[in-house]
Amino acid sequence: MTSIRLRLLKWLIGPILLINLAGASLTYLLAWTPAQLAFDQGLVDAAGALAARLRPGPGALAIDLPQQAEQVLRADPVDATFFAVRSDGGALLAGDADFPALPRGAGAYDAAMRGEPVRVAALATTAGGQTVRIGVAKTLRKRQQVRSATLRALVLLETLFTLALVGLTWFSVTNGLRPLARMRSELNARDGRELAPVGGADDVPYELAPVVSAFNDLLAKVQAGARSQQEFLANVAHQLRTPLAGLELQLEWLGARHGGDPDTAHSVRLMRLSNQRMIRQVKQLLALARAEPSHFEKARLEPLDLAALVEESVQYFVDEAAKKGIDLGFQLAPALVAGDRFLLRDLIDNLVDNALRYTPEQGTVTVSCGREGADCVLAVEDSGPGIPPAKRELVFSRFVRLDDKTTGSGLGLAIVRDIALAHGARAAVEAGKQGGALFSVRFPALS
């Protein structure tokens, strides 16, 4: 995986380091060359001063160099100073006998003397018709001191500059990448079903805009895909309703007509059970498709009384409860919420159906609704086996069934949760007073 941050840092910090290094070298050269020249000039001046003391005498050339003057020449607390004045033939007129041989021309050069590197300034002059070579040399100790002081200062300064630059670069890159980080946290905060476009139009930086827009196009496609899948599901469910209704009626007639023959009656009963399961599952698929956020329309919300909605389904619940001899009771108080009529009926149907399904024969189921403070609560309590605390979140997931003995699609409670979410309500389950399960859905009340 490549990192934009690393790439930027590599391409910013690398060149900055190189340029800094070049700058430091140049600074060193600029500082060192004049110092070198000044030192050399000192040597040349000393050689000049010696030349000025040559006294062309009759016959032999002499140099007027009293002890005192020589001491002045040699006086240096750090470096040792050497000199030699030689005739063209090589005879020493004054100075150190072991001074290295002097070249013909003038100039400054490096040499060694008495086991130590020295810098030599040489010049040739004519005195009394003879050529005289003069050399002045100094050890390099002071030069080295100056040089290392310069280097130390440069290295320290350059290190500080480099650190400051790297820090600034790091900060700037991080700062520049902040919109990306913001977008990442925005995307991370979403759940899988939120497909709205990312980034408010104003705070997307120019460079990021094409990516954001491409990404939003993709989101739109995904959303359209999800929507058409839901529509397909809804269409299939609708298409299945008429044939299933027809089959149910034919089976009902067959059962009534041939109920006297036990084998036929048994077979017809099984067929009807299967058919009713299919009818139920088609209903549930449709309910799931309707509860999808991409399908849910706020425009369909209307003020609805939960008590009235429960009453609409009472006949069906009573018939279902009678099949298992379950004592079904109600405690209905007015509870006004903003809801989608069909979805809330699906929610109520599934919640009660679930309770009837998992309550043993001769058990008790109580459906209640009413206002509790700022909430409207719909609750269904049963005398079934209850749900262990560890599984109370799990039961609202799709296709989760806690018990293999009961036929169910595993969709009912997922539908309840989806519809509750779509309405800004919360579905939960706890232990009831009779040891069974107490399912509740808490809606914001409509005042």
């Binding site: 309703r241 044939p243 149910e248 009818i279 006949q315 109600f330 989608d340």
Partner: protein, 221 residues
């Protein structure tokens, strides 16, 4: 009772007509809106059960034409769709009831009977099990024995019998037997029902309590 069934799905139409015939109805089946429109111009149809999604002119249009002719024949719409707009539209253009496929047969039968009752005078005699209520003569009998009922007890029992074996709420009972807005508590209804239970104990029917909600009549087992 003459029921016109308009349904283009042959299997459903066939099954439904047999079931309804089993409930003593005279069923005429047609498969499209145009035929339905023609049949409905004859007056003898008691209730029309009409699918919305029909070939040719749809169920909505059939109802619209029916009402445009000033006919009051009760119409029950059947649909495979349950969009709320359909329901609202159906009721707006003059349909009387609405049922989504697939439906429970007792539900459909009950609604057809309710619609038919709306247009015919109340039957003079209601009966279930061994109990008969002669509404004209205000006389209640178990087999041949006449039983004595107060006015309120009579009203409650009559209302229950009108609904056959379907659940009615206490509030529905109060609303039905007190047309003049008199005050009656839910407890009072419970008192009438418990007295009725004693008086019809041997009629072969029981008044079952739906806890916290209401009652329904069922034949004793």
């Amino acid at each position: 009772m003459h029921v016109l069934l308009v349904e283009d799905d042959a299997v459903l139409a066939d099954g439904l007509s047999r079931i309804l015939q089993g409930h003593g109805m005279l069923v005429e089946v047609v498969g499209n809106g145009t035929q339905a429109d023609q049949v409905l111009q004859r007056a003898e149809v008691a209730v029309a059960v009409l699918d919305i999604g029909l070939p040719g002119i749809d169920g909505f249009e059939v109802v619209r034409r029916l009402r445009a002719r000033g006919s009051a024949i009760p119409v029950l719409l059947l649909t495979a769709r349950d969009a709320v707009e359909d329901r609202v539209r159906g009721l707006e253009i003059g349909a009387d009831d609405y049922l989504v496929k697939p439906f429970a047969t007792p539900e459909l039968v009950a609604r057809i009977k309710a619609l038919a009752r709306r247009n015919t005078p109340k039957p003079a005699v209601l009966s279930l099990g061994d109990l008969t209520l002669d509404t004209a003569g205000k006389r209640a009998r178990i087999k041949e024995r006449v039983i004595d009922l107060s006015v309120r007890e009579w009203a409650v029992l009559e209302y229950l019998l009108q609904h056959g074996t379907r659940v009615v709420s206490k509030q529905q009972i109060i609303d039905a037997i007190l047309p003049w807005g008199e005050d009656l508590t839910l407890n009072a209804v419970e008192v009438y029902v418990s007295r009725l239970r004693l008086k019809i104990a041997d009629a072969g029917i029981t008044i079952r309590t739906i806890r916290g909600f209401g009652y329904l009549l069922e034949p004793s087992t």
